[in-house]
Amino acid sequence: MTESDLRLIRESAGGIAPRTGDLKRIRALRFTTHGFDPAIWRQICDLGWPGLALSEAQGGSALGMAAFCALAEELGAALVPEPLISAALAASGLPETHNAAHLAGTNLILPAWQEQPDSLARTWHCQCRDGRLNGRKCFVVQAAAASSFIVTTAQGLALVPAAGEGVQLSVEKTQDGGHFGTLDFTDAPAEPLSADHGLAIEEATLATAATLLGVADRAFAITLDYLKSRSQFGKPIGSFQALQHRMADLKIQLELTRASIAAAAHSYDQGGTEALRLAAISRAKARASDSALLITRQAIQLHGGIGYTDEADIGLYLRKAMVLANLYGSAASHRARFAALSKI
């Protein structure tokens, strides 16, 4: 991917994920059952986004993680609630036959892989034997919208219809207006799949970091605008040195995050040992989680009272960062993984 290829991808994102403009669409979808708009999701699928980094054999366009991260960043900046990263993760484990409808947006399959909070373990207690699935999965993003789930089990991946017998879903609302699902499987009929996710959970982790970058980047820009336009004591508050220095520090964190993610995506696309790739992803996710929370919470402070109202858009960025910061692993768990990988 050259810089100009990446720019094209970012520009193409603008139609669905405008960097500026109001967030009425986002607000209207908050706390609804699905948490996103199925029509927009189909448009996203028409653009081929969920398969952007997927191999061509699986129906994707194999443009790599640099491209997918650029896209995720734009969607983060626009707070797009449609489940791009989840859908791409699901696609990685699906045979091409299933991927056709999934990637077309007519049949949304969501990944149910996680069993413990804040865990980077990649082993599973869920069992799939003789076509029957048992166990529990948690933190399934936007679970209520799925037609099927692709479930990690001790025996490999399995596909289970959301409305099937033995499948029980409970949902909890998240701060960003979406929800997490908890799935309990009791002898649920399931189709074993022969493929596996490979490193797709890692790719989803990196794309989540990129989303956080977009969130932080836009929150920073909104705050900078606010500081230039809001006056107190007869001058723009952005002229106060203490606020200038804080913005300078936030800018550095923002650019460190951008550089870290770009380097991780680049080295991922170049190949290299798994340990190196995972260490780079952990590094990028740790930075993105910390800096997005830092920048969005400072953004609230720098907005003053207005930042504490639900009417102000800046709060939507804080809430998004709160949900994404620990998804696919908190900063602390990624630091621990980085330390373990660097020892080798």
């Binding site: 804040d118 998240t174 007869g234 919470r297 003053g304 009272g305 109202t309 639900d310 009417e311 908190s330």
Partner: protein, 389 residues
Amino acid sequence: MFQIEPIETRNLDEWPDDAFRSEVRQFLASHYPPELRFPPRRLHFSENKPWYIALAKAGWLTPGWPRQYGGLGLSAGKQLILIEEYERHGCARLNDMGMTMIGPLLIKHGSIAQQEFFLPKILSGAHIWAQGYSEPNAGSDLAALRCEAIADGADWIITGQKTWTTLANDANWIFLLVRTDKSGRKQEGISCFLVDMSLPGITVRPIINLELHDEFCEVFFDQVRVSDSCRVGELNQGWAIAKNLLGFERIYLGSPRQSEQALDRLKLLGERMNLTEDAFFIDRFTRLQLDLEDLKCLFSHFADQLRRGETLGADVSMLKLFQSELYQRITEAMMEFAGEFAGLLEPMGGNRELHPGGAFIAARPTSIYGGTNEIQRNILAKNVLDMPG
């Protein structure tokens, strides 16, 4: 001189501290509604009314007021004990503007007629007050306020907008700072008015905050006519009155309570996340705990000044600064250790004490209200450290 007979006939200020503390505990045990302990957010009057009325009936609503105005006449030291016990018990904060600000203001600056009219109604709970200071373009810079009153015969016509008016949706009276003269410096030409919120021309619009709660309101005044008898203090001298209103509140804003409660909850969260043996969690927790312990030492230092009858200096700002940011740091630690639960809108498993995301959001405004922490640092630098410019 106007007087009100206190309902509480005992002079509690003369009691030994221990006896007083134990009396307060008994009072709370028998009068405080258990379901209101440790509320997750500021309560509306409709919710905390039973407690309000219980205090009013006992004559305990206004601990700081002199006994001749129906208060308990407690010294600062005794008031601190009261606050400590209320906090320990998890008492909800009341709609307390009338008790803590308007009453003392009227006792100091009000006419006898104003005292006669208003004070008993605060004591009985008939008047619930709001305080109209901030405006959309006068937040930290209060002197920039533009809401104005124009004289019309013996009356005034008030037009403008107030914002961040705490629980204005509960209040039936509002204390207003308005501009009555535009010719001088920004701080001049401001006067104070007492306004009945049922008057025509007043609209209240709740603001939904980040906790998705309607604690604050905007209040709009469209040519609201009030009589000059509703003006309090000298004309155009309102700034001086308003500036000195926050006396005792300045130490209250630095009370370690929020941080203490948050730290307890961080501990609970650590247990829930199986981190109690995790060296990194322990270190992080201990640092915050030490910050809290040292904050308590510093708080005691200022409380001792109050107990000795001294006036607190501008350096009391240190408490508010450190407390609010400690509270925030504790909730930030919650976010880091809570895994995916950090993103939940509601408490974990319905346990109100396990709500990292809620606590994180609730802690945000503490560094904004009561003068942003940036303003507090300016005050420290200029008024305490005597730094130039």
